[in-house]
Structure formats: structure tokens, C-alpha cells
């Protein structure tokens, strides 16, 4: 009897050991299973406008148990670096990609490769030339609305009369050309008394942007307003206006927001900014990926309306969200 009890105890011990091993094995497998990871690649990490997109994506990811990989080129014109980052996403077998392309053509091939590798991709900010399709969605800024909004603002503050210069147009940016054409057509339709005196292409260097703005100011002494199509061009125009002491005489309306430009609105140097809702873009893109993480991503294109940032609303909760740099903070 004693021997029987001892045998039973040994049998129980062995059974316990087996169960422990089985649990450890399953726990190991569970630990090895990788978390759903989404890469968020904005145009650049140099400007604060993309911190809002980071914040939106991070907030949506936190509630969906998604890991976020965040990186972008140090400069907006470093297209090769952005393409290399997309290729890295492919190599790392991430499940999702949120991309704000620097250029509509050059990122086509990398995005095609990502799609061929089954990566759910959401393009934000501005479109590529690839039409939306399965696993490829667009959540972009409504560029035509941005152009119209800028035209209406300038038309209003100039009371329908005056001369305006457009600075910072990137001829390789489909988005900026669309804004420009919408701006021009809106002015022609609603404010025929406003003349576009000059159009200048842009640069990715603030000093050069300032030189271009100063040249325009010297060429067109009777200028009433400036419309800049990028944050760099806005910085250059602000510096030029301040050096010419023309901040009161010439109204500056810019496209793309930043913390620094928001401060210039508060100080009255910049009249207003046409803000892209990059927070909403990041948030919605991540939510879209989270909702379809186990299925295919439906084809869709969403155009988000721009936001006009003025001295009156610059500190409102909605606008503060667009110039938020603390992406780790819940809005």
C-alpha cells in the first residue's frame, strides 16, 4: 500500500511537470508572436506639422494594441530616404503603413512593392498617382478647398482689390499645383479686382526662401498680400517682411501650420494659415488599419477639409490640436 501511494505521488509529480512544460511552451509561442506593427512615415520629421499626425496615429494605436514605428527623412526633399524607409517596412514585414509621400511620382514604385507584399497602406496628406484600390486607401487634405480658402481669406482682407504674390510653389508637387490653380480660379471668380503679380517656385532652404521673398518685395513695391504654399516659404516671407518692416502693409497667408508660425499669428506678423488636419489624418488612418487588421483594407479616398488658423481661433482646442508637439499626450 505504501508503495502504491509513493507511485501515485511520483505519477502526480510527473504529470505536474508535463503540464508545466506545456504551459511554458505555449507561453513561449505567445511571447514569440509579434505585435501588429504599423509604420508611420510622414514627409519629414523636421517640421512640427507632422507631430500632430504622430499624435493622432499614436492615440489611435494605443486603444487598438498596435505598435507604431515612426520615422521620416530629415528633409522634405530627401525622396530616396523616404523610399528606403518604405523598403525597410517591407523588409521588416510590418503589417501596416501610413505614408505622407514627399512626391507623387517617386513613391509610386515603393508603395507598389508594399502592396505586392500585402501591406495595408494608407496615404495621408497628398495623393500618389496610383488610384485607390484594395489595401490602398487615401486620407488626404482637400487641396482645392485649401486654395479656395486662401483666396477667400485674401479677397476678404484686401476687400477685393490689390496685388498678391504667390511664393513657394513646388512644380513637382501635384498638391501645391492644385492649391495654386484653385487659389487663382477662386480669385478670378470672386475677386476679379485682385491681381496675381508674381508666382515663384519654392525651395527647401529658409535663407533662399527669404531671398526670393525679398526679391519679390523689391520688384513689386505695391504688393498687398503674399500667399505662401509651404512652411519654409512662410518662414522666408516672415523674415523678409520683418526686415523690410512691411508686416503691417503686406498681409501674409500661408499654407501649412507650425508652432512657430502659430506664434507669428499671435504676434500679428502672419495674418492666417491654412492648416492641414494632420492629427485627424494620422488618427483616422490608424483607426482604418486597426478596423481591417484581419481583413483586406477597403479602397477609399477621404478628403479632409483644411482649417483656417487666425488670431481669433489660434488658441481654440481644435487649432491647438493641429500645432500640438506633444504626441505622447492624450488630446
Amino acid at each position: 500500500m505504501m508503495r502504491t501511494q509513493a507511485g501515485y505521488a511520483a505519477w502526480k509529480l510527473r504529470q505536474g511537470c508535463l503540464w508545466c512544460c506545456a504551459w511554458l511552451f505555449l507561453a513561449g509561442i505567445a511571447a514569440c508572436k509579434r505585435q501588429y506593427t504599423v509604420a508611420v512615415i510622414p514627409r519629414t520629421t523636421a517640421f512640427t506639422i507632422w507631430e500632430a499626425a504622430h499624435a493622432g496615429a499614436q492615440f489611435a494605436a494605443a486603444s487598438s494594441d498596435i505598435q507604431v514605428y515612426w520615422n521620416a527623412p530629415a528633409s522634405e526633399d530627401d525622396i530616396q530616404e523616404q523610399a528606403a524607409l518604405v523598403d525597410r517596412v517591407i523588409d521588416q514585414h510590418y503589417e501596416g503603413l501610413i505614408l505622407a509621400p514627399d512626391q507623387p511620382l517617386a513613391l509610386m514604385s515603393p508603395v507598389e512593392r508594399a502592396l505586392q507584399n500585402g501591406i495595408h497602406t494608407v496615404i495621408i496628406a497628398s495623393s500618389l498617382l496610383i488610384p485607390p484600390r484594395q489595401n490602398l486607401a487615401y486620407i488626404v487634405n482637400d487641396d482645392e478647398a485649401s486654395g479656395r480658402m486662401a483666396a477667400m481669406r485674401i479677397g476678404t482682407i484686401l476687400n477685393g482689390h490689390g496685388r498678391v504674390a504667390v511664393l513657394g510653389v513646388n512644380p513637382q508637387s501635384l498638391s501645391e499645383l492644385t492649391i495654386l490653380h484653385a487659389f487663382e480660379s477662386t480669385l478670378e471668380a470672386n475677386f476679379p479686382g485682385i491681381v496675381i503679380a508674381d508666382r515663384r517656385t519654392g525651395t527647401h532652404n529658409i535663407t533662399e526662401a527669404q531671398q526670393i521673398a525679398e526679391e519679390v518685395l523689391n520688384t513689386h513695391r505695391d504688393l498687398n498680400a503674399i500667399f505662401t504654399l509651404s512652411a519654409i516659404a512662410s518662414y522666408g516671407a516672415v523674415n523678409a517682411l520683418q526686415s523690410e518692416a512691411s508686416t503691417d502693409a503686406i498681409k501674409l497667408v500661408g499654407f501649412e501650420q507650425s508652432v512657430e508660425l502659430a506664434n507669428q499669428i499671435r504676434s500679428g506678423v502672419v495674418d492666417s494659415l491654412i492648416g492641414e488636419d494632420t492629427y485627424e489624418m494620422g488618427y483616422r488612418a490608424m483607426k482604418l488599419l486597426a478596423a481591417n487588421r484581419d481583413t483586406t483594407l477597403p479602397s477609399q479616398e477621404i478628403k479632409l477639409q483644411p482649417v483656417l488658423l487666425t488670431r481669433e481661433n489660434i488658441d481654440s482646442p481644435q487649432v491647438r490640436q493641429l500645432v500640438n508637439m506633444d504626441w505622447g499626450r492624450t488630446p
Binding site: Q103, A106, M108, S109, L129, P131, L174, H181, T201
Partner: protein
């Protein structure tokens, strides 16, 4: 293999080699024939230009003609055999602009460049309204030009014909549909005698059609031959090679100063709602459709009225700007030609740079790996290429480039030049940009595909299998030959033992039986002398058998031996056979001693032994000569006696003579028997000695036929 079959094989190989040599000579003569490929006629209707080679220019086929719409200086398009000698070439020709264009005969050493060829060029020139003829030898010397009646006009068809016979060259030009004709005949004492033909244009560009090359008729040849050394045909150098064609009077631009000059890049920023008028200044990079490029970008221009422009023409155009996306178009455009300049060199950029759209409608050079080839529904050949992160396409715009595209192998690294376009019409929104490639010169394979393609691996595998099979086959045959050699050797040994030891043993046995019988007959008294004699005979037979056995063993060893031993052995044999008979035996050796292969030595010994036996048994000679003579290539053995001789008859050849003959053939030797009744017999055997083997053969297996340098004592 017998010597006879060796000889047959040798003669057959020699015959085949002669046939092959004759065939090769005939092919070479045909290829170098001055008439090969003549008459030659190209209507350019097939859409193929595979036989032609471009040297700069922008050559394309259209409407049964070949066109160079480039204002390149010295663009050439060559074809034909470089061995053509006396022939005429003629074609209809039209000049697209100011400059000159024409035909080259007897062309060789053609390269890219203005006068970078050897040959004679004749053409029509707008600057002096003349027909010209000159000699190019990577430099240019021109004969006095002749004014063309009615002048030389752009857009007018002329018929140009050049004949070359010996050192006389003649050219004639006729304005088609008129009687206006000009001719130049010249004689060049140090002429180029042969060469191919080429089309050439100098700044003007041009169109050629209905080209024909023929042997000169007898009348034409006679006419040219009479033009030798004419008095006014002195050569004099001109600056044709560097002269810039006089530009045509510029078309006055439409209200030139009312429309501001714009950079082409800025056209994209123009209003899309109301097309604005703009003026641009640039050079033509593609004519159909028309693209103009300046330093900032390129633009497609739709002319209000069709015009003849060449690649490289510098123009000022103005029209309505229609921006669309990343591109713009200038419509309802008019233009003014400013001058003809060499075409813009391509901008060397990466695919990443091209994909930005900044180089839209510009002439660029891009490298990439060829990914695949295919055709659009309209038949246009397309290359899909990749470089870094980018995938792009190249589209052939001419049959020549289509053919060149088809010749490219996937996975090659290719450098392409062409007009970079990013509009959706061309890219179909599937690739960031495409290149329109219009000339085969714009395609260059930098690195071919790697050899480890699937196709090559399969070929390699089959080759290895084939080689393995071949090696196995050779090995099997070698093994078969070795076995055959072993069997032959065994057979030879069996014959050897049968001829020597077995017969000796039989003789010994016979002697021993005779002694036993004599002893067993106890009723007769023993005759000691007789028994002693029979024992002696048996003992001799034993010793003889022992000698035979030792000699046979010696021949089985691979050690070298020489003729002294042979002659000594034969002399001993003869003395044994002669016994106490009064026969004088003479043995000697002449010449410088050489090593003789054992097989040869053994055969000679057998032949000598048989000959001596025959001489003693049947000839009853009083003198017997045994002699060996060394020669450079062999050894001669002579057995001569002064016996009764015999009448040689083939049917009377006993086994002995047959055996001698067979042994002589076995060592590739020859046998001569000189005998008549009463005059004795002289048997001569000539055996060749194989020559020295090459040094490295010494290490190879020696089957006994070759000689060995070692000389071991047995």
C-alpha cells in the same frame, strides 16, 4: 589496328581536311567578294533597319523613307560590304534644313564625328547652293563644288547618284521633276579602292528613299575611266567640317515683344482656368510629337501649322499654356527658328531624380536593370526597368529601336537616353516616368545578364551530363583496349610456350622414353654409349629448354635490351643446330647501337631462329651469315647462307616462311627473301624502331612498344 587500316584512316582524314580547307577558302573568298550583296536595293518599306548602323543622328523610318531629323554635324547611317569596289549608289533625297546632306561611297573606319571616316562624300549644300564632292580621311578635302541650277532648297526632292570606278569618282544631282542637273567627275590618284556606303547629313538633316547600289555598267565604267587626271580637278582643303550652315531666315515670331519670355518650368504655374500666352526659348529634343527643352525643363508644343524641325534646332515658340498636373502643354503655337545647333547632350540622372517630375520632357540618360520586355497593344516595344527604388519604362519610337529592344536580354544593366515623360498618357499611372527612345544609339548595354540564369544552368547541367557520358565512353573504350591487349599478350604467350617449351618438353620426353625402353629390354645387353648419347641429347634439350624459358622470361620483362644479345643468341642457336657439321658461322653487328623494344627484339629472334633452322635443315650450307644493321629509323636483320636455295612460290610457303612473314607484319616490318636454286638464300627483315616519346610520356604506362631509357641487367 593494322597498318593498312591506319593508312586508310590517314588518307581519309587528309581528304576531309582538304575538303574543309577548300570550303573555308571558298567562304572567305565569297565574304570578301567585291560583288557580294549587289545589287542592293532598300525601299525602307519593311520597317527594318537591321542592316544599317547609325553613327550619331536621329534615324527613323517613315513612309518608305529613312529620316534623320537631327541637326547633328556629320550624322551617318551605313550599310553594305566593306569589300565593294566599283559600283554606283543612288537615292532620292530631301534636305530638312540648312546645311548639306548626301551619300558616302567606299566608306571604311566609320566612327562618330564630323569627318570621322574614310571614303568619298557627295551631297547638296544650301550654304552655297552647290553640289559637292570630297574625300574624307578623318579630315576633309573637297573638290571644287558645282552650282546647282535652280539652287538647293529645303523640302525639295533631289536624285543623287555617285559612281566609283578605279580611282575615278563621279556624282550627279537632279532636281526631281525638273531638268536642273549638276555633275562633278574627279580622279583621285591615291584613292580608296573599296568600302561600304552611308547616308550622311551635316546639320541639315534629311530624308532618303529608294536607295540602290549596283555594279557599274560597262558604259558607265568606260565614262569614268576616261576621266583620269582631268586638268581642273585639283584637290583643295576647305572648312566643310567646321562650317556652320547659314541659318535660314528666321520666321518672325508673333508679336515678339508683347509676350514675355518664360522659363519652361514656370509654365506649370500658369492659370489653368484661362490659358495665357507665353513665349519660350529652347531647343528641339523630339520632333514627333514636338518637345522643346530649356535649362529648366521641357514642354510639349502643338504647332498651329505643321513644320519641318530637326532635333537640335534652337527655336523660340509662343502659344497658349495649358498646365495639367505636373506637366504643361503649349498649344496653338508658332515658332521662329533661330539656328541649328548640335542636339542637347542628355542630362545624366538617376531614376530617383527622374521620378520627381523635375525632368519632364527633357532629354535624359538613365541607367537601370532590365526587368522584362513586352509590347503595348499598338505594337510599341516596351522595356520595364528598375533602378534602386524606382521602376520605370522605356518605349521604342522607331522600328530600329524596337529591334534593338528585342535584342536586349533581361537582367542586363542598360543605359538609355530618351525624352523623360511623367504624364499619365505615357505612364498610365503605373510607373513614375517613361523614356521615349528614338535611336539605337541611345541604347547601351553596360553589363550583360549574369550567367547563372535558369536557362544557362540547364544548359550547363546538360553539358556536364554530356561530358560525363563522353568520359565514361572513353574510359570504357580504353578499358576494352586494355583487355584486348592483355588477351593478345596471353595468346602470344601461348604461342610462345607452344613453339618453344612444349616442343622441348616433348623432345625430352621422347629421349627419356627411348632410354627407358632400351633399359627395360633386359634381354639385350646395355649399350652404354648409345644410352650416354641419348642422355646427352636429353640433357642438351633440357639446357635448350632452359635457355628458351629464360629468354622468354626476359622478353616478358620491361627491361631494355639490344641487338648484340640478339645476334649472340642467334649465333648460339645456329651453333647448336649445326652440331659438328662443317659450317662456318659468321655473326656481326653494324651501326650505332640503339635500344630496341622487347617485342621487336623477340620477333626478330624468332624470325632469325626460323631462318637459321631452314637454312641448316634444307640448304645444307657451308657458310652462314647472321648480321644486324642499325639505321636511324630501324634495325635490319640479315640471315644469309650459301646453301642450295629454292624457288620461292607462294603456294609452297611452308609454315616456317608464313610464320616469319606474320611475325614481320606484327612489328610493322618488311620481309625480303632473295633466293634461287643453287645460289643460297638471303633473308632480310627491316623493323622500325619507334621514336623517342615526349618527356612527359615517360611517366605514362608503357605497353612495351615504346623504348625505355632504363637499361637494367636481366
Amino acid at each position: 589496328m593494322t597498318p593498312r587500316s591506319h593508312s586508310f584512316l590517314r588518307s581519309r582524314v587528309f581528304f576531309l581536311a582538304c575538303i574543309a580547307l577548300l570550303l573555308a577558302a571558298a567562304i572567305v573568298l565569297y565574304l570578301r567578294s567585291p560583288w557580294r550583296g549587289l545589287p542592293y536595293h532598300d525601299t525602307f518599306a519593311s520597317g527594318q533597319t537591321d542592316e544599317w548602323t547609325p553613327y550619331s543622328g536621329n534615324w527613323s523610318l517613315a513612309d518608305g523613307a529613312v529620316k534623320n531629323d537631327s541637326s547633328d554635324r556629320g550624322a551617318k547611317f551605313a550599310t553594305g560590304s566593306s569589300y565593294w569596289r566599283d559600283y554606283s549608289v543612288e537615292a532620292d533625297m530631301l534636305l530638312l534644313g540648312g546645311g548639306d546632306a548626301g551619300l558616302i561611297v567606299r566608306a571604311s573606319d566609320i566612327e562618330r564625328g564630323v569627318d570621322s571616316y574614310n571614303g568619298y562624300y557627295a551631297g547638296l549644300r544650301t550654304t552655297d547652293q552647290s553640289l559637292l564632292l570630297g574625300r574624307a580621311e578623318h579630315g576633309w578635302i573637297e573638290y571644287p563644288p558645282v552650282k546647282m541650277p535652280g539652287g538647293v532648297k529645303e523640302g525639295t526632292w533631289y536624285h543623287l547618284k555617285i559612281g566609283a570606278f578605279g580611282c575615278s569618282i563621279s556624282v550627279s544631282a537632279t532636281a526631281i521633276g525638273t531638268n536642273n542637273e549638276a555633275t562633278i567627275t574627279a580622279h583621285d590618284p591615291h584613292c580608296f579602292t573599296h568600302g561600304s556606303i552611308a547616308l550622311r547629313s551635316m546639320v541639315a538633316g534629311g530624308i532618303w528613299r529608294n536607295l540602290r547600289v549596283e555594279k557599274l555598267s560597262r558604259e558607265e565604267a568606260a565614262l569614268l575611266a576616261s576621266a583620269k587626271a582631268p586638268s581642273k580637278m585639283a584637290l583643295y582643303p576647305t572648312n566643310q567640317g567646321s562650317t556652320q550652315a547659314e541659318p535660314p531666315p528666321p520666321h518672325p515670331p508673333e508679336a515678339p515683344h508683347t509676350v514675355p519670355l518664360q522659363s519652361i518650368q514656370s509654365l506649370r504655374l500658369f492659370s489653368s482656368t484661362h490659358p495665357a500666352r507665353a513665349r519660350i526659348h529652347g531647343s528641339v529634343i523630339l520632333t514627333n510629337p514636338l518637345y522643346i527643352q530649356d535649362s529648366t525643363g521641357g514642354v510639349q508644343v502643338d504647332l498651329k501649322q505643321p513644320a519641318s524641325l530637326r532635333v537640335g534646332d534652337e527655336v523660340e515658340a509662343q502659344g497658349d499654356v495649358y498646365p495639367h498636373g505636373l506637366t504643361a502643354t503649349l498649344r496653338n503655337a508658332t515658332f521662329a527658328s533661330l539656328s541649328g545647333v548640335p542636339p542637347n547632350p542628355p542630362l545624366s540622372i538617376t531614376a530617383d531624380q527622374a521620378a520627381t517630375g523635375a525632368y519632364h520632357a527633357m532629354f535624359v540618360e538613365v541607367e537601370g536593370d532590365l526587368y522584362r520586355r513586352f509590347r503595348f497593344a499598338d505594337g510599341a516595344a516596351v522595356l520595364e526597368m528598375s533602378d534602386g527604388a524606382q521602376i520605370f519604362r522605356a518605349i521604342a519610337t522607331s522600328p530600329a529601336t524596337t529591334s534593338a529592344f528585342q535584342a536586349l536580354q533581361p537582367r542586363s544593366l542598360v543605359r538609355l537616353r530618351g525624352v523623360c515623360l511623367v504624364d499619365a498618357t505615357h505612364t498610365q499611372n503605373t510607373v513614375p516616368f517613361v523614356l521615349l527612345v528614338s535611336s539605337t544609339e541611345d541604347i547601351k548595354v553596360l553589363v550583360g545578364p549574369p550567367w547563372w540564369s535558369m536557362e544557362h544552368i540547364i544548359i550547363l547541367a546538360f553539358t556536364m551530363l554530356g561530358l560525363g557520358f563522353l568520359v565514361h565512353l572513353v574510359y570504357s573504350r580504353a578499358e576494352e583496349w586494355r583487355l584486348r591487349a592483355v588477351i593478345d599478350e596471353r595468346e602470344r604467350l601461348a604461342h610462345e610456350i607452344h613453339d618453344t617449351l612444349a616442343q622441348s618438353f616433348a623432345g625430352i620426353g621422347f629421349q627419356l622414353r627411348a632410354i627407358r625402353n632400351r633399359i627395360s629390354k633386359s634381354n639385350t645387353p646395355l649399350q652404354n654409349e648409345i644410352i650416354l648419347e641419348e642422355l646427352n641429347r636429353a640433357s642438351d634439350l633440357v639446357r635448350h629448354s632452359h635457355d628458351e624459358a629464360r629468354r622468354s622470361i626476359t622478353t616478358l620483362r620491361p627491361d631494355a635490351t639490344e641487338a648484340n644479345g640478339l645476334i649472340t643468341a642467334l649465333e648460339q642457336t645456329a651453333r647448336q643446330m649445326v652440331g659438328r657439321a662443317p659450317v662456318v658461322i659468321e655473326a656481326n653487328v653494324e651501326g650505332e647501337a640503339q635500344s630496341i623494344p622487347l617485342r621487336v627484339l623477340d620477333s626478330l629472334f624468332r624470325i632469325g631462329q626460323e631462318s637459321i633452322a631452314n637454312a641448316i635443315q634444307h640448304g645444307h650450307p657451308s657458310h652462314l651469315l647472321i648480321k644486324a644493321i642499325y639505321a636511324a629509323s630501324g634495325i635490319r636483320l640479315i640471315i644469309e647462307d650459301n646453301g642450295s636455295g629454292f624457288t620461292p612460290k607462294p603456294e609452297s610457303d611452308g609454315f616456317g616462311l608464313t610464320g616469319i612473314r606474320r611475325r614481320a607484319e606484327g612489328i610493322d616490318g618488311t620481309l625480303e627473301i632473295h633466293t634461287t636454286p643453287g645460289t643460297g638464300t638471303r633473308i632480310i627483315v627491316d623493323a622500325p624502331i619507334p621514336k623517342d616519346k615526349r618527356p612527359f610520356w615517360r611517366f605514362a604506362y608503357d605497353d612495351g612498344d615504346g623504348q625505355e631509357p632504363r637499361n637494367h641487367a636481366s
